[in-house]
């Protein structure tokens, strides 16, 4: 975790508003599509899940793996991005 991606910085820089789920770091086209299919079409829906899981890293990553078969890096990125967003805006 030496540096964060541009996507991560972009996401963390501002309130997420109505951003689509693809704006989350670690969530690309494919994962975004899978998440949308499961009803997680907006970044804030994923945030909701993240909060419901009490910001628990392990659980959230597990959930992401189960839901859209994200790999370790993707889920870590997504978690890090949501976590940082929460630290900044919540």
């Amino acid at each position: 975790m030496s540096s964060t991606s541009q996507k991560h910085r972009d996401f963390v820089a501002e309130p997420m508003g109505e951003k689509p789920v693809q704006c989350l770091a670690g969530i690309g086209e494919t994962l975004g599509h899978r998440l949308e299919e499961k009803g997680f079409d907006k970044a804030y829906v994923v945030l909701g899940q993240f909060l419901v899981l009490k910001k628990d890293e392990e659980l959230f990553k597990d959930w992401l793996k189960d839901t859209c078969s994200a790999n370790a890096k993707q889920s870590r990125d997504c978690f890090g991005c949501l976590k940082e967003w929460c630290d900044a805006f919540l």
Partner: protein, 783 residues
Amino acid sequence: MATAQLTDEELFSELKRSGMMPGPVTDSTRPVYLKKLKKLREEQRLRHGKVRVVMNNNTVAAPSESEGILKSGGDVTHKRYSRQSLPRESGKQSPILGFSSDESDADAGLGAHGSRRGRGNTPQSERKPVQQRGTADGDTDRRKVPGWWEMRRPQGDSEDDDDDDDEEEEEEAAMEEASKCRTMNGSRHSYYRDYSDTDEELGKDEQPSRRNRRGSSKQARDHCMDRNDLPSWPGWSREVADVSHRHRGAARKSHTAADSDGAGNLKRKSNNHLESSYNKDPPRVYFPSNSLPPRMPQSNHTAASNHNYSHYQYQGSKRQLNKVSEPEEALLQQFKREEVSTAGGFSAHYLSMFLLTAACLFFLLLGLTYLRMRGTSLTGEENLRSPEDLNVDQSTIVLMNTLQKLHEKLSKTAGDYICGDTDRRNVSVQEASQYLKTLGKEYEDEFNNTVAWILQHSATRDVGIKCSSDPGSILNITSVKYLESTLPRMSFMCRIRRAVITVAHRSSIFLIGVGVLFGVLRYMKYRWAKEEEETKQMYDMVVKIIDVLKSHNEACQENKDLEPYTPIPHVRDSLILPQDRKKMKKVWDRAVEFLDANESRVRTETQKIGGADFQVWKWIQPSSTCDKISVMPSKVWQGQAFHLDRRNSPPNSLTPCLKIRNMFDPVMEIGDHWDLAIQEAILEKCSDNEGIVHIAVDKNSREGCVYVKCLSPEFAGKAFKALHGSWFDGKLVTVKYLRLDRYHHRFPQAFTCNTPLKPSNTHMNSLSHLNLRTGASNSQSCS
């Protein structure tokens, strides 16, 4: 099914019990939590395994988790336990844990590997379900201890009661020592709490926990200076009291069906646990800071001998335990099923391989059976056929027998011949009669008749024996020289050998065929590829030739001295390197052929050059000028229209913003990025200007407007001078100053722009034309 069985509340309480603080269980979080729970279970089981190993090394151990049997666990304790003790699975912790795991193993049926202590305990407690604590204690102690306890304290072996007393003394001594160097380091009590938890919930781990404490106090004495190992007892008891309260609360919450009896039982249990955890220790050590109500009497610990499992059940909590363990069972079943399903997947992975092997074996067997049946059926058929034919007449019974014997002999000979055992396939008449003679007189006498019969019948059908004579002579009874079986009988091994050889032979033929086919295919492919490559080379060559001819033609037009034709060999020699000429001859010939046939712009003539006739090519298409026009570059600066002076430009810069007109005609522009090209052209024209921060091309404007913002009015003035009155792309560019607020109103995004823009490359494409034609004007305009 199991997920349906496990309601959200149950899952929630399960998770709590397993030592974590779950969030709300919803449809979306449910699978995650189920997984987590499973993981926790597995972790615990794993630790059991570890602890068991440790225990076999005769160390004192007692993990308290008891794989989730802790139905009515104190949530706080568990939570802390899991947080604190998880990272310390090895090292100090595991030696202290271990006994209760043993027993809970036996209890949960996991103890495939249960130690003798656990085994010893359970039957005994079943035998004496209601037993006073002292006796049971002593008994079990004696039973359980022998492995390590006696070794450590041989003097405790003499008397049962002594054992306990000694232990107490030891404990007390340990306590005193411990209190000397004890610490209030609360976080280190986790494992004491742990097994006290186990005690409380199982009511059967009390005994081991006591021993653990003994062990630990021993340890405490051993490493008195190791503060981390030392429990602070008051803290512990407080914790235990806490646990008992919470425990009751949890029980009420999660098992609403539990009646007051059950609750009371629970309460008693917790009390028991409390006192049993340190029953023999003087209260003054433990109770000073104990918030436990006084209704927990000392006598309780003698009455409630719930230190073994069966006893615990006899106390009336059986019903509750069962109830409690129902969802537990469901959950465990669920996990088990999952495990089974993974095992199924594993076997499914091998199923295909197995099927393949089975199929192979089946076909092998089939082949062998076929082999066998073929041999037997044919010989059997033959054996049957001969008697049938011969039985017609009773008088020929001897003849039939002879025939049969003869046939056997002959077919054997033929079989041997095929198998390579003998040299000849047939048997001479003399040999046959000799053979028959050995069998008996009557056979020998019948021999001639038999041969006659064979001759008679073999004309109409196959009787299995063929007679043959010397070549040329007529076949009759006197001239028959050899007898031969048409149905050779071979031994089984021989048949197999022949079958294998046949199969090998045929398969080799097949393989060779396949190989040949493959080779042919490869060759064809190679040929095709080569052909294709040659065609490509030929077209390349044609293009090159046309280029050469074209350029030669152009050169001829400019320089009238040159001949308007080119000798073909000359073209070839200029196009193909000397070392390639041989190789490329075919290509070249094809190219020449192609040009002759298909190229209308080239005419082949015969010309006399230097006294010799040469085939020459002549480019006959007039050079078109339209080609050149299309080559004219666009988006370039074409020079200055007029010199700037006071009359046509403001003397000083007014604002930092410029509006440039006539840069383009939007109707004429094609492509997506023409505006970028214009930006680029402006930046290149103002390449010595460091102050341009924003350029906007108004793509829809009829006038071809471009807006430019500079850092300061000075920079804008410089840009004004560079751009105003220049020809760009055939248009005269004019520049005006624009007010800054108007600019920002129009381009709000320009408000924050303050990094100077630079041309994206250093080629200055838009200026190259200018530099070539009017190299001076550029510097002039910039001055």
